[in-house]
């Protein structure tokens, strides 16, 4: 929706990115409509091939382990996957304990600073506020 770099990553890295999001989507064995919409949005932005999309949807049905996801994830793909994992975890308005733990594990795997997840959560809250302002503008757009 806003300028992003996910689509610029090499194909394999985009796949690894999406696989981690599939893991995050299923972490609490519950997939809300908000999380699903966010997952599909990120999948679209990643411009995966039809075959890759099919594999990712399989991963949604049979989620890989976090270790399997992280084994192929580093650098920019990893950072973007963490960012979008935070957004997806927060999509239903609540980040539960399992989600939080996984986010911290991903951050540690990527060697990010200790408060990275907190910072990203705060950033996400600001994003929700911005989007809410968009709704408010839409509601008052009648001439």
């Amino acid at each position: 929706m806003l300028p992003d770099t996910v689509h610029k990553l090499p194909r394999e890295e985009r796949f690894a990115y999406a696989r981690l999001l599939a893991y995050m989507a299923r972490i609490d064995n519950e997939l809300t409509i908000d999380e699903m919409a966010m997952f599909e949005q990120r999948l679209g932005t990643a411009l995966l091939s039809p075959d890759q999309r099919e594999l990712i949807r399989d991963a949604l049905r049979n989620p890989p382990t976090l270790e399997e996801c992280l084994a192929n994830l580093s650098g920019e793909a990893g950072r973007l996957a963490l960012r979008d994992s935070v957004m997806m975890a927060a999509a239903d308005g609540n980040v539960d304990e399992d989600e939080r733990e996984a986010l911290e594990d991903i951050s540690e795997h990527l060697g990010l600073r200790e408060d990275a997840v907190d910072q990203l959560l705060q950033w996400t809250v600001k994003g929700y506020r911005w989007m809410k302002e968009g709704y408010d503008i839409l509601e008052h757009l009648e001439e």
């Binding site: 929706m1 300028p3 599909e40 949005q41 411009l47 957004m87 990010l112 968009g134």
Partner: protein
Amino acid sequence: MFPDGLGQRSPQELLRYAEILVNIAAADGELVREEIAVIEGMMGRCMIHPESRVTVRTGFEQPIPLEQSLADLDQELIRYILRDAALVAAIDGSYDKKEIRALKTIAKAGGVSTQQLTDLLDWVGDGWKWYVAQREILG
């Protein structure tokens, strides 16, 4: 990026929504990868059916005229479209004259004044500022 009432719309309405986004992206010439990525993301967010997405992609080459896609849509939907069209138009960092013209056409169809359109474009600018802050966090 965030889910909203678009998910409650009919498949036909969502198809029109996506067609208009393609039209906006193509307004300044050929569609670039950034524009395609953002449209694919928006189609994903609304969970447009995969077969409908294939139909929308055919418009990448030959976009459907804006007036045709806008015909008979209700104003609430047109305003959602205007919001997301503004985001698509901004994706390359600026608004082209043709994009502005197309946005004005959508605004008119949605009963939105020029000042309100300006407010909406300012809101898009605020979103850009929010979005770039993640780069500092991620290093």
